[in-house]
């Protein structure tokens, strides 16, 4: 029987966030995602429809934009500073 209730936008958004956060957790310091199973799973999810693709695209856009925000927390600043010192 065909699915008469496709997932809502909110449901797809939450699923897209779940994939995005998993991707982030599995990205190493060089920016590489080494978990091929995760990538394959994400590919399968995206192939389910245009709604999934649209939501993942939105999630990526939001994620990448937030990477350019200045932190308001000193805890975050200190962590970044510590990492920069290690690099120099």
């Amino acid at each position: 029987m065909a699915n008469e209730h496709p997932p809502s936008d909110e449901q797809l958004w939450q699923e897209a966030l779940d994939w995005l956060l998993k991707l982030h957790e599995q990205t190493d310091a060089e920016g590489e995602v080494r978990d091929q199973v995760l990538l394959a799973g994400l590919g399968n999810w995206l192939r389910q429809g245009s709604g999934q693709q649209q939501m993942f695209n939105q999630a990526l856009t939001v994620w990448e934009a937030t990477g350019m925000l200045p932190p308001g927390s000193m805890e975050v600043i200190n962590r970044v500073l510590e990492r920069v010192r290690q690099q120099l």
């Binding site: 060089e30 937030t66 805890e75 975050v76």
Partner: protein, 176 residues
């Protein structure tokens, strides 16, 4: 390393000139191509100047510059890897469409006004939620580490991170 003090009139070109080689090296280690790394640093400079013109002061400007360069580099490498894995080797028209979409100027051009809207959206969140999100997104803490520091469950941290991203989505895409 000497951090410049907080200033609304900070000369970002001086920061980027002083640390240019180190910033490019940081990006190059991630993107694996010096020319691409130079592009990332240039892009970071533009984004930061747009953002700070609108927002005003930034604490620890050198750290902020490195943070933006590093995050941009990681995002670009991950995007490239993702496209290679899923959109090039597989003959799947719908996925090629998303790949094209991800590379459009509309997707990449996050302007200063947009960043300001995101900043405001995050500022409207409960302090604890914003802090958890910043630690996760900008500080590279894991959800487990954040949970330990905040003395809450990892599940709550996961919810706070997703709440923050949802607020940003509303700001970015004007979703109700």
């Amino acid at each position: 390393m000497c951090e410049q003090p907080v200033s609304t009139e900070l000369d970002w070109s001086a920061v980027f000139l002083d640390y240019r080689d180190a910033l490019i090296d940081t990006s190059n280690r991630i993107v694996g191509c010096r020319r691409r790394a130079e592009d990332v640093v240039q892009d970071a400079y533009i984004k930061i100047t747009e953002m700070t013109e609108l927002r005003g002061s930034v604490r620890q400007p050198v750290s902020y510059a490195f943070q933006v360069v590093r995050n941009l580099s990681i995002d670009r490498r991950r995007r490239l890897q993702f496209e290679q894995c899923h959109f090039v080797n597989e003959a799947d028209a719908s996925l090629h469409e998303i790949s094209d979409g991800l590379s459009t100027p509309e997707h990449l051009a996050i302007q200063g006004q947009t960043l300001l809207a995101l900043d405001r959206a995050l500022s409207s969140l409960p302090e604890r939620t914003r802090r958890a999100f910043e630690m996760y997104r900008l500080g590279d803490f894991t959800q487990k580490e954040i949970a330990q520091q905040m003395e809450v469950s990892p599940t709550l941290v996961n919810f706070m991170v997703k709440d923050a991203l949802t607020a940003c989505r509303q700001a970015l895409f004007n979703q109700e």
